[in-house]
Subunit: 356 residues, 2 copies
Amino acid sequence: MTKSTAPATARRLLPDAPLLLAARGERPNRLPVWFMRQAGRSLPEYRELRADQPMLQACMTPELTCEITLQPVRRHGVDAAILFSDIMVPLHAAGVELDIVPGTGPVMERPIRSASDVMALPVLEPEALEPVAAAVRLLVAELGRTPLIGFAGAPFTLASYLVEGGPSRHHERTKALMHSAPDVWHALLDRLADLTLTFLGVQAAAGVDAVQLFDSWAGALSEREYRRFALPHSARVLAGLAGTGLPRIHFGVGTGELLGAMAQAGADVVGVDWRVPLDVAAQRVRAARPHGPVVLQGNLDPAVLLAGWPAIEAQARRVIDEGSAADAHVLNLGHGVLPETDPDMLTRVVELAHSR
Amino acid sequence: MTKSTAPATARRLLPDAPLLLAARGERPNRLPVWFMRQAGRSLPEYRELRADQPMLQACMTPELTCEITLQPVRRHGVDAAILFSDIMVPLHAAGVELDIVPGTGPVMERPIRSASDVMALPVLEPEALEPVAAAVRLLVAELGRTPLIGFAGAPFTLASYLVEGGPSRHHERTKALMHSAPDVWHALLDRLADLTLTFLGVQAAAGVDAVQLFDSWAGALSEREYRRFALPHSARVLAGLAGTGLPRIHFGVGTGELLGAMAQAGADVVGVDWRVPLDVAAQRVRAARPHGPVVLQGNLDPAVLLAGWPAIEAQARRVIDEGSAADAHVLNLGHGVLPETDPDMLTRVVELAHSR
């Protein structure tokens, strides 16, 4: 794939899917709901399947990826499946040596910190992602009328893992690189934008119905840094998908100060964590992008799911009420499902959303 | 100490100290500057002293506490010393069984999760803090005209450690407790406010010139949660110190959405992390508390200190410019000094601040 070619799409027509209607700013007849990390450790059937399967292997085994992705759709009746994957998958597929260490996260064999490190980064060929494409095709065949959301990490977040060599609390080497060697930084992010666009392009061509670009760590940046060092590269990824017509969801944690900038990066749907009420988030997105519908996704605190149903119900109703300030709302959490979550609580949130 | 007695203070008169002038909203003839965690792992002389001294022992050995506190004052010429301590010190002094594990942080022998756990929390007697008082007295004698800032963790942050049993990324058990059992939550925070007030009261009586209340984890809360579950208890601590006349600095990380509420909690100086520019922070604090001076502390990103002097200088000058939007500004970082920091960069930031 080259930068100038819009990815193809095998998109199905799902004219009544609440998620897809909401993503266009319309009000579907039922509030769409799904959960970040809905396919994961909160489900006993997931833990059983993953017992002896390393993460990256599970992401590159189509039947397993398909089954894990379907589990929460069957169990909770959510309005979308999200492709089971990991933000490291495209780097792994390109040949970057890394491991996902349980309890720690992704660990790089060799951190990327110089211009020559950047030049040596392998290019991702779409063929290397065939297992991902195969999983998407299996899912599209199985899912019926439930849309499938594709998945990728944003260039800044990938860069943080590559520069730090693993998960980081302070992102200090990442920030030191961007401030001390902006040319090296932008060359790195440019390559990662290509890689991300290839990853999402393969998913689009195989049939996903929407995409979510996760910029997990963007909230570590000030708005000034985000606009200078991260936004242009996320914007290129999101613009590169415009030709597919797929709704583009963009999310990060702790990004209250960045919501307007993330909307300007080209998101159709802006994901919001629990720190900013959705009515406030709607004002921020509308102020930053006055034309076009304001569509928000979020923002029930995943920790509240551990507080018992009365608290969960009260908070979910508040989120739904506040979400009505947007032109459309996709109910979700403000971050991923925590492993300790009782999955029945998720099912009840879906029922609550659908009863309104 | 009882709730109704204002702590005594052995405060020196330091009428020209830039930090103390700024804390009252006046513009001193030189910009005051100090660094959170200035006494710590960035200094080789600190690493040498701490080599075979566990953290809590170092905090309870007056001569060692004094020497560690003085090191950055000697080396950098900062405008304040901050008492070398740890937010766990008052819990440790009260007899709560805990350990500070290098590389991990504080780990509790028994987490606090029920009403009976709360009832069983020991009360902190001021006498148990005699080593801290002795360290303060030594410091006041050594410091000359440099003010000494006292130190405590805020009730919410202490509660998170107690409920989770250690450091936590998501604070899920803490939030589950506050939402599912608010009576237990408030009983716990009430006890922790007493403990914090005792800890700061002992420091005040021994002679500190200002206090900083760290609510390290407050940024994990939405403003609604902060106002309901954390602010009342921090406010009681800060109000309990009003009679001492000591300036009260209040700081948390990721608290952009909470700056107004934290000012309303009773802070004379609001600490700001790097995510929100100081001119924006000044607007937020002024809007929330229209009467009285707006005094801000911060907010150079500690990661920028690893990016080399040209980047550090540019960012420090920007922070100083933006700080002029407040009635007064105390230059500091937006979080603690990172261990990898070259201490010479800190010295140069002090020189830059003092050259203006």
